[in-house]
Symmetry: D2
Subunit: 257 residues, 4 copies
């Protein structure tokens, strides 16, 4: 079997080394947690502008109130109160294709558009018409609640611009937005937060496969807040009661042996 | 049943609110991810000094090379490659009492020492003699590899001092360290990273129950690096092979019906 | 480092061996799943009577309708629909100390009573008065809904008797029940299902530490039913909606920096 | 919002009802755990023959010695020793597309073959040539170790025949096997255990989506054995040591900011 190696970390009596850097001399107290997340997943330290944009994305993804992720964490925190990592991990399991998948779908469209070298207007028109024509949701567009525009996307765009990181992926997303509206006969559909974050992750060089992982790290921070609140002002038993009362039993119809 | 409420988040057409603050106006682009983690678990924004110390702690806890957490994540990433949240959550499940528990044990000793109002020297002498006398490991002390001192604790102490956050909990830990050495007849035992972080979390007001959750958030960042490396330079199959070859089968001895 | 070995399984070109037995010749088609669960956790094959009692216990623990375990599984199945193991594992995480702990607490009382060799009446009177006197719930007793008696305990007792497995642990539990009622001034409190199962697991030689694991295996079977129902008649989105509507946001009171 | 209901379970003071049956009168002590697993996922009780075949499949899937599933469970059991559900759930997370996927892929081929009504010989020839021609592994065929034949498939086939459950899906699998060998120029490739189980699940009416869930329930039983062994004869620390020593650190090459 071929050898396997790791480039992540090693340590000896006097020091710890993380990806070639001395943990105590170069990282602790010298770099923020956000810079380190970038460093460990991209392999180089971010510029100040890249770190600011990543911070903005992580802050955006942290918290969405009552969603499956937070409901699951609250229920498990009530069942396993002394091991909070269990409740947090249970919640993180639901950061899956249904909710995080739109970010990945949007990133793939943008990456393909740049990779192909095709004229952006032509590419976006074709993609928009394809999705709208087949009535499939365009990944990264639309929001259940936020209308006409998702305020998070607008703010994220501003952060990118202020940091000089509005580049070709963001521009392609804005072109796509225009074409989506056109394909819908002028009815506006917002770029949502996951769509804008997909573009920003591409701008700052986050690998496609790491995008969902970034969402996981961010949500872990949000779930910590839910665990703390569950201990102080419990919701789990109420969720349980609401479910019992709101989804009643009815006898199955199937013939049984 | 009494009403349950949440203070964490809500949203409407035009805005998202997180713990009373407007997400788009006051948080995205205005606050770092580290500040938000603090905000969601403590309930107020940290000072600049508190955020720096929290950053230092999170950076310290992120990465330890090959430990159960990272080995588990690598194996699950190989089995479930398209849902990285599964691999990361599996790894986080092992941030349990055995490894994270020493941080909590140390924090309890320090919190109790301050709460009791007892003379620090007397308190620490008693605690040190109790542990050393019964040959139990002192939570937050000692390290398998780092000798004579864990370099991370030294650097963390420096960060706390530079930010004006060396307070009574840190001082109590240093007193305890002196008494542990004395109880061991002068043989020095290092304050390890989890011990120093326990003191720093107390200094900056992290609730005891949130300490392990902080370790979970930090490790999530570290595990993202492992997931990315597993896709580029796999280790999982090698871990599997090493286990197969290194831990052989031998027939059981028990009498069987 | 000392050698580590496993006694569980090995295989070669022609055969698979599980705990010393040939999988294809002695186990597949020759033994039930229940017998195998016993075999793998106890180390010997159960008698017919032991297997029947274990079957009765596993059937009892499988399904409880809407509880945290099933609610969690439904939510995660909706978020990660193509990997049902994720939904099932998420639900199983909540088979923790709060719900499964009463079985373990009851088992410890019974095991200690037999181990001590003390007179059963004296032992049970003391234990009952201790719990009732300090108003702590007696592990394995009482039920939110089933009154005056948990019908599952009554049936499980009958199954044990019919299979000749009503032994000293069951008798001790019945004595304890009498003493609990006496300590409560004659107000009857039922032995619940987890209490009777604790006694039955001891009768058939399941190690204390394996008891919760048995509950996990049994619940895994129950959760499979929930996953299948979620795909055919979804409840997850309704649980989400009930939570959103039933647990509203209110602004936090704390002063914020 | 439309109403949601569940057909799984309900209870009142005197009884528990599971899918329309009285738990205490009709199920506990009357049905095996295997029958109940079938009942909860298929919606009707199995015949004796169906239960025997399901037992054979569950026994086959339980245990594979050192695989990611069991390695993960051992590591987490060492980190979180008092909550065995955490270790078992962590291991179950890896019952994913890579390992369980071949069962699903094979089931889809067989289901499609029957659904299409195409001549079995023609269908199997086409499928076999497609896979072999494009050098893709045929789902349900081949085994790393077992040659020329996987002994589990042979035994499972015998169990099906003895119980009168060798039907059209099994026959189609055997036809496919002949055509796979033919497409490989006569070089024999075994039907493996997951392939034969795919056919048997179809014969006994297990829904396609429930197949992986069956594997999860079965593996839960196997992992309980690993948890028990870990407490008695630990392997986790050895796995850790083997990994540390076998997969060394080497400095990363990338240029770093």
């Amino acid at each position: 079997m071929t050898q396997a190696v790791t480039h992540i970390a090693t340590s000896d009596e006097k020091s710890v080394t993380v990806r070639g850097k001395d943990l105590c001399e170069e990282l602790i107290g010298e770099r923020t947690f956000t810079e380190m997340i970038y460093f460990l997943s991209v392999g180089r330290m971010p510029s100040t502008a890249e770190a600011r944009v990543l911070d903005a994305c992580l802050v955006t993804l942290m918290e969405h109130g009552w969603v499956p992720t937070s409901i699951v964490t609250r229920l498990v925190a009530d069942s396993v109160p002394d091991d909070v990592q269990v409740a947090m991990a249970a919640g993180l399991l639901s950061v899956g294709p249904v909710f995080a998948g739109t970010m990945e779908g949007c990133a793939e469209i943008l990456a393909e558009g740049i990779r192909s070298g095709e004229d952006p207007d032509v590419y976006c028109k074709r993609v928009a018409e394809e999705y709208v024509g087949t009535k499939r949701p365009v990944p990264g567009f639309g929001h259940r609640l936020h209308k006409p525009d998702d305020p998070r996307s607008i703010k994220l765009l501003r952060v990118a611009e202020e940091n000089g990181l509005r580049g070709r992926y963001v521009d392609l997303l804005l072109t796509l937005s225009r074409e989506v509206d056109a394909a819908r006969g002028g009815r506006h559909l917002t770029i949502n937060a996951t769509g804008m974050i997909a573009a920003l992750f591409l701008e700052i060089g986050i690998p496609l496969k790491a995008g969902r992982g970034m969402a996981v790290v961010s949500r872990a921070g949000g779930l910590l807040g839910h665990v703390v609140e569950e201990f102080n002002e419990p919701s789990a038993r109420k969720i349980w009661q609401l479910t019992r009362e709101g989804i009643p039993y009815s006898a199955p119809e199937e013939t049984q042996a």
